[in-house]
């Protein structure tokens, strides 16, 4: 075990994390938040979601599912971004590859942490998934493939640390393929529900993969810049060049997402398709308009896209602002996608009396704490990684 660790952990070289006082404080705060989140999660499992969460019979999925989707979207995206460099050989992407692989593990583990509290009997899953395997269930495929994905990504990371690049590339490719398959299945979890007009159709899996790529670019810029700023490291020319390339790829993905979103909205309004129209209008002019226009459109698309274009991906401070806006915006996108898709009740459009036009959902303190715990856990993982792996510096870059 010690030998294995010694082989993985770099003993010298790379970048040394600075300011142990600051580091310990940050770690302490994040650990505290993680523990708080876990405590809220455990309490909600014991007391029951009926009493602790804002979810209901009509809106069974809440902010925890949104946070889970956010984490796995980011993880898949980081995997895609990392593979651009060392699987497909675009050298500009090499300097960020190690950190991206590490963070893809951190984000998916945080995602699993959050969903463990959303699934009310997660302990039944390991056995149930095997003896009750349902091959028509997208959730089953997603869970199983993400399990394999985590395994591949961990092996890939170990191989990267051990400088076994051939093996790393192989496992990276395996991770990429299972990640994309798993993630499109997550899209299909929503997209293949015939009764939910806002989600139904091939759009979801396609959109999920594209927004994963966008999230991956945004996330790696975000975390890399934080790591460098917090530790007072100086970016190498290679890293700067890499940031620029990632930012440009991110901008391209944002353009595609803007294009997708435009047509999603237009097709949801034209001809008032029942069930879909009500949902789209909730986003455009209804109770989720602020989320949509400010959160999704401004923070998630327009601001980061405009910033990257204006500075041509070269100004690190500007890139950080773009990435921060992007991260927040992407979270709002996931939240809206999950929640708004459930708001139109089953028997809408039948002329019912005393029947809600739209359902409502608001997260409770328990739910916020679990999500915050997941975010903090991801941050904890990230900070530890920077210190232990000395800034994830690739030797051959």
């Amino acid at each position: 075990m010690n030998n294995l660790l010694a082989g993985i952990l770099p003993q010298s070289g790379g970048l040394e994390a600075s300011g142990s006082g600051k580091y310990t404080l940050a770690m302490g705060v994040l650990a505290l938040l993680s523990v708080l989140g876990v405590a809220a999660g455990v309490h909600s499992l014991i007391a029951g979601h009926e009493h602790t969460f804002g979810v209901s019979r009509g809106v069974p999925w809440g902010i925890l599912i949104a946070a889970y989707v956010f984490f796995v979207v980011t993880s898949t995206g980081l995997c895609i971004v990392s593979s651009v460099g060392h699987v497909f050989g675009f050298e500009n992407f090499n300097p960020i590859a190690k950190r991206a692989v590490f963070l893809s593990i951190a984000t998916i583990v945080a995602g699993f942490l959050v969903i463990a509290f959303e699934i009310e009997n997660s302990w039944r899953m390991p056995v149930g998934n095997v003896i009750g395997a349902n091959l028509t269930s997208n959730i089953w495929w997603m869970g199983t493939l993400y399990g394999a994905y985590l395994f591949f990504m961990m092996i890939e990371f170990v191989m990267l640390q051990k400088e076994q690049h051939k093996a790393a590339t192989g496992f990276g490719l395996a991770g990429l393929l299972t990640g994309v398959a798993a993630h499109s299945n997550l899209g299909a979890v929503f997209g293949l529900l015939n009764g939910r007009e806002f989600w139904h159709g091939p759009y979801m899996p396609i959109y999920f993969i594209t927004s994963a790529a966008m999230s991956g670019c945004v996330a790696i810029i975000f975390f890399t810049i934080i790591a460098y700023k917090a530790n007072g490291w100086k970016m190498s020319e290679g890293m700067k060049k890499s940031m620029e390339s990632v930012a440009k790829m991110g901008a391209l993905m944002m353009a595609i997402i803007i294009f997708f979103t435009c047509w999603k909205m237009i097709s949801g309004v034209t001809g008032n398709p029942p069930g879909k129209y009500e949902t789209i209008m909730t986003l455009l002019t209804g109770s989720y308009a602020l989320n949509f226009w400010v959160g999704e459109v401004l923070l998630g698309m327009v601001i980061p896209f405009a910033i990257i274009l204006v500075v041509r991906g070269r100004n690190i401070n500007a890139l950080f602002v773009a990435a921060l806006a992007g991260m927040v915006g992407i979270f709002v996108m996931r939240y809206d996608l999950v929640i708004v898709g459930q708001l139109v009740p089953s028997y809408h459009g039948m002329g019912l009396v005393d029947y809600p036009e739209l359902l409502s959902y608001a997260p409770t303190l328990h739910e916020y704490l679990v999500v915050l715990g997941g975010v903090a856990f991801c941050g904890l993982f990230f900070l530890m990684g920077e210190k232990l792996f000395r800034g994830h510096v690739a030797e051959h870059s």
Binding site: N134, L192, N194, P274, Y347
Partner: protein
Amino acid sequence: MKIDDLEKTTSEDLGVLPSVVRRNILKLGLVVTGMYLGGSILSLTSVRNVYGAGVVPEVGKYPYNPHYSMVIREKLCIDCEQCKEACVKTNHVPAYGFRTTILEKRRSLGGEKFETTFMPVLCNHCNRPPCVRVCPTTATWKDEKTGIVTMNPGRCIGCKTCMTACPYNARYFKEETRAVDKCDFCFESRLSKGQTTTACVEACPADVRVFGNLADPKSRVFKLVHAPETMIWVLRPETGAIPNIYYINS
């Protein structure tokens, strides 16, 4: 005016309209609201019409035997909710949940007048149940013998995907069993113990709910569903789930 005088006057209610007119108005209403044979105006897709098939399967083409199903004689429902109470008692349904409930439709009759129709809803025990497809652990399945969509609470992981997949809002999470709960046509509480009908059917004072084996030509559900000149509809046919709760007005 005394009763005797009143009896001489002609009634002004809908009874004086020729039945053809009444039927046409009713059909128009159902077509518009998208409930009649898949709907053709408001309904997103009109799958049943497209393929030329009705909502009722061909005789002899029922996939199960007994093929349990329920016919709801909707017009007769008076929302006394004795069915709900019986269900709660029989199946230990908690206060925050329900396995069956009554919805209320309103149709304008012109002016300030309107007509109320109560619409009982429950699990449709679909032939192609979306909830069964999405369950990762097969905690819910369609019973091969009876066609009843059943739950195994011990297998349920609580992911609630079946709840989002169900087009009929027929499922809820029951904290007491830590599993999703739903109507099982009283299989566990009554049918498996030799009784022949569900608690809601037994409780209904207006004979709204008729339960039985659709594959048996002698059963009342068979006779109702295959009666001549009867309009039969199902809820949300556009989802392709092929429900087994039939609604009629006669």
